[in-house]
């Protein structure tokens, strides 16, 4: 059933493996969804290091490769630092490159990630959010993602298994867009999403080919190939460095409208959309708002609905784009609210609060004196329960009513 039907494909057409010839629905995990999505995008090179805390993403991709479903160079390396260098090189040579990592693996490729971004190599990578080294807990937590904030990668955070599938496909459109040419990470919470099995709509490979087709109509990217008279990243002292940094920064800012553009096209093709940089849920007439990201968003929707039924005018902002930070849309969504809470699954040393709180606060600094509360929950697999979120909403509401409030709250 996994045969590659090369013989039946018309001349010049890409092979259509039988297993992805038709759209289908399967019960798969978040990691499975990421692997199916990456396979459907026909990467030329996949590089990864298979050890804990890796994920089933690369295991499933290795199976697709072994079964003849995925026609790529599958490079098993001796460590994540090499995996990052391989996808950087493959991308610089003009290929479509993919990797997946998590936690220790992500921070072990830290220096090489600066190269990939600085060279403007549009690789796509999955990061399963888990706690980084220090206290040995390879459990769910977003601190790993926070720790690579300033590497110059685009970073997205998703909420469920279907969104993992859809965002991974969109990530290639975003990364390889001629106006962007930046590497992209799709982040999702370890355990709560990486191991979460749900029914997922999997498009056919032809549908994905069509969605990605505009990339082929773009001006070609420069290719760094053996023997070619082209260099990259050798030296950039003084103004050369300044110019490239300025251009990198400008490309990062262009990601905001581009994400909404590639998502609008995705929605037209597949009928699903996610709000672009952020999604606002029941915020329009809300007095108070909770801002969060990842798996906690789904739980928060249920609690917001319950609080609404009790008469509390609460809304929810789901942060999807982490880098660049969607400061304009956040400011717009939170303008005029009586109080705001931000729920983080990580901490921000030096500011004594959550990192998304710090950034949300910076984005709304012109808004005056509305109380803003930081909640830190879900570290190292701790469950962000409905009760926890209900308590947060109670605290935000109390602050909105002028009662004394605690600025930073650790849960449980």
């Amino acid at each position: 059933m996994c045969a590659v039907e090369k013989a039946t494909a018309p001349a010049g057409a890409l092979p259509v493996p039988g297993i992805v010839a038709q759209p289908q629905t399967r019960v798969i995990t978040g990691n499975g969804a990421a692997a199916w999505a990456a396979m459907l995008c026909r990467p030329d090179v996949v590089a990864a290091y298979p050890i804990t805390p890796q994920s089933e993403v690369i295991e499933q991709l290795a199976k697709f490769h072994a079964d003849g479903v995925l026609d790529c160079e599958y490079v098993t390396v001796e460590g994540e630092n090499s995996a990052q260098n391989v996808i950087c090189g493959a991308s610089m040579a003009g290929g479509r490159a993919f990797s997946a990592t998590s936690s220790y693996g992500l921070v072990y490729m830290y220096d090489a990630m600066f190269n990939t971004a600085g060279y403007r190599a549009p690789a796509v990578m999955i990061n399963v959010n888990r706690e980084p080294p220090g206290i040995h807990a390879v459990c769910s937590g977003q601190q790993d993602m926070i720790s690579v904030r300033d590497t110059g990668w685009v970073q997205l955070i998703v909420e469920n298994t279907q969104e993992i599938m859809d965002m991974t496909i969109m990530a290639f459109r975003l990364a390889e867009d001629h106006d962007i040419q930046l590497p992209v990470i799709v982040n999702y919470d370890g355990y709560y999403l990486s191991f979460l099995a749900e029914s997922v709509e999997i498009p056919s490979i032809t549908q994905v080919d069509d969605y990605l087709a505009p990339l082929k109509a773009q001006p070609p990217r420069p290719q760094l190939l053996p023997g070619s008279n082209l260099g990259c990243g050798s030296h950039g002292i003084g103004m050369g460095y300044v110019e490239l940094r300025k251009k990198h920064m400008a490309a990062m800012e262009r990601v905001k409208p581009k994400l909404e553009e590639v998502e609008a096209e995705f929605s037209a093709a597949f009928g699903r959309s996610y709000g672009g940089q952020i999604e606002e849920y029941r915020t329009e007439d809300a007095d108070i708002v909770l801002v969060t990201s990842g798996s906690a968003v789904g739980t928060a929707r249920t609690v917001v609905d319950a609080k609404r039924a009790e008469g509390v005018k609460v809304g929810l902002v789901k942060l999807r784009l982490y880098r660049p930070f969607p400061k304009e849309r956040i400011a717009e969504a939170l303008a005029g609210k009586k109080a705001v809470g931000v729920l983080d699954r990580s901490i921000c040393f030096g500011w004594d609060c959550g990192p998304l709180y710090m950034e949300t606060r910076a984005a709304t600094a012109g808004d005056g004196s509305a109380p803003m509360l930081s909640f830190i929950d879900g570290l190292a697999n701790m469950d962000i329960t409905q009760d926890h979120i209900a308590g947060m909403i109670d605290d935000i509401q109390a602050a909105a009513e002028g009662r004394a409030y605690q600025q930073v709250t650790w849960l449980p």
Binding site: V27, T29, D189, A197, S199, G298, T385
Partner: protein, 184 residues
């Protein structure tokens, strides 16, 4: 049917994680929305593992662990010693238990109804190894009526193939046929 929450308790290597997923696949085969995930620390054979399955006619948005299950599936009888095992089991909830013993008294005061089978013996006979997970899913289908045996077997086929699938189908069928449902 109202949404259902099932909590699986097993030990690493007994297939609790896969059992939870297979049950999700079975419910999906009946058109339900499903969600299932496990929770454990560092991967070690023999350590306690918890896994969760939800299914519902409505989309499932919550990404939390399960605290008030409608059903508990206990794959390893030695886990009955864990004090927190029965925490939150709903008053009309049911226990699906792998045990060779008879239970004249309930294993815990909060348990009023249980489906008990010596699933280890069935698995040793049908699979040749102590992997009683699929047997207990068959028992769950029989005791709860939430999914049909046919759907359970479809759910198995989502995750297994070949000879192993055949053996596990027999394992699940025997779980369905041989389980004893007891009320106290």
């Amino acid at each position: 049917m109202a949404a259902k929450e099932i909590r699986f308790h097993g030990r690493g290597g007994q297939g609790a994680v896969l059992a939870a997923r297979m049950l999700a696949s079975a419910a999906a085969a009946e058109g339900k929305h499903v969600a299932s995930f496990p929770m454990y620390g560092f991967e070690r054979r023999g350590m306690p593992v918890v896994a969760f399955t939800r299914f519902s006619d409505e989309p499932i948005r919550e990404k939390t662990q399960i605290y008030t299950p409608d059903c508990l599936v206990v794959i390893d009888p030695t886990l009955l010693n864990i004090k927190t095992l029965f925490d939150g089991l709903k008053p009309d909830g049911i226990l699906i238990l792998n045990s060779p013993k008879e239970f004249p008294e309930p294993p815990h005061p909060s348990v009023k109804r249980a489906a008990i089978i010596n699933a280890t013996q069935v698995a040793l006979c049908e699979i040749g190894r102590d992997i009683p997970n699929t047997c207990l899913i068959g028992s769950l289908a029989r005791a709860t009526g939430w999914v049909s045996l046919e759907s359970v077997l479809k759910g198995l086929a989502d995750h297994l193939d070949g000879d192993l699938l055949k053996k596990n189908i027999r394992n699940a069928e025997r779980g369905y046929e041989e389980v004893q449902v007891i009320s106290w």
